[in-house]
Symmetry: C2
Subunit: 226 residues, 2 copies
């Protein structure tokens, strides 16, 4: 299947590489291709520049946000929360129209230091903001409650015995995303309902951040025990 | 040990009864004793009036908020979030001074219908509000991330194989609360840090509420898998 992945950070790289390994035709999108390839800034987690990563993942195509979105039958938003709406505008509504958008980022505001706060919360969510601005896109919020490596390969923590959530207004889109999640190794997928449920999963982030602080490693997740 | 439990709702009754069964000397506190005993309103979950509950739990003393707080070497706040500060004021700072306060409620705002939103969140929490107003009380926020029956007896869900969090500024107070949690049956207790971490656990409530909607029963909890 053809995927467009918006964002060249940890999440975009990890999801893009995972989709490619699973046999999909992936194009990763960035604001400016030349700038991204020329950047000498190492990734905070992997310490790899994007160019180094791209050499190792040559099977993943690269293009602008618009080119990646156009390429994808299904599009993944892996741009950080504060820049997500701008990136989607740059991707161009025409390239997203009618498509499923897997929306991963959280509305984190780092302006006040660590831990970040949320720039939208409680009575609204980033997932809903995106759905409102792009009403013909089938937004499915998911994978926003764990670190990137666990998103793409849940078996990295306790053999995958934990939970991922999804929210969205379109039942067909959610069914399609559940299949992709299962191909990543997710066994416990809980559908929380329509896109307003993104308030729930995005609101979990402050707890996730405190857990990261307490456990000192990001390689954990929650399992809903019932 | 002597406990004062503020609040005669589901949480107050359940925690009060559990502490009494464990051999503690418990006094439960309410705004007005006569009104509480005369109330014919059944509890939403147990369908029991307070008077009926009290006949079955005659070992639990009853008094005003101030009398319950005075009685307790350790005090439990089980008053709903919106009324917590008022109840603590009625309990009287002199009766709380220097004591450990187990703070359970969440800042739920039901004024906009279901699911409720939070009346304080993101950059502050109810736990912090209480700690600020009562600086000499050792506030320990805990047990606010599951339904009352599971708080008091975690073995009711998957034999207790799941997680409870606690937050607070006083290490000695947290150590004491951890012992009480263990006596309830909690095995996985995660200390998230100081009272600002209550932002994390209170922010989880929107996800808890969506999970309750999706699972259709409140008898669940999360396990932090690492």
């Amino acid at each position: 299947m053809k995927f467009g992945v918006l964002g060249t950070g940890t999440v975009g790289r990890t999801i893009g590489a995972r989709l490619a390994v699973l046999g999909h035709d992936v194009r990763i999108g960035t604001r400016d291709v030349a700038t991204t390839l020329a950047s000498t800034e190492p990734n905070q987690i992997t310490q790899e520049t994007f160019a180094d990563w791209h050499v190792k993942n040559a099977g993943v195509g690269l293009g602008t946000f618009a080119e990646a979105a156009e390429h994808g039958e299904l599009v993944v938003n892996a741009v950080m929360g504060a820049h997500s709406l701008d990136a989607l505008r740059a991707a161009d509504e025409a390239n997203l129209d009618g498509k499923v958008l897997i929306d991963i980022p959280n509305p984190l505001d780092f302006s006040g230091g660590m831990p970040p706060t949320l720039f939208v919360s409680n009575t609204d969510s980033l997932g809903e903001q995106i759905q409102r601005e792009f009403p013909r896109v089938k937004v499915v919020k998911t994978l926003n409650t764990m670190t990137a490596f666990v998103m793409a390969d849940p078996s990295l923590v306790d053999d995958g015995d934990h939970t991922v959530f999804l929210c969205g207004n379109d039942e067909g889109a959610k069914a399609q995303v559940i299949e992709i999640l299962r191909s990543f190794g997710w066994r416990d997928v809980i559908d929380l309902g329509d896109i307003t449920s993104a308030r729930g999963t995005e609101s979990y982030l402050p707890l996730w951040l405190r857990l990261w602080g307490a456990l000192q490693v990001p390689m954990f997740n929650i399992k809903v025990v019932r």
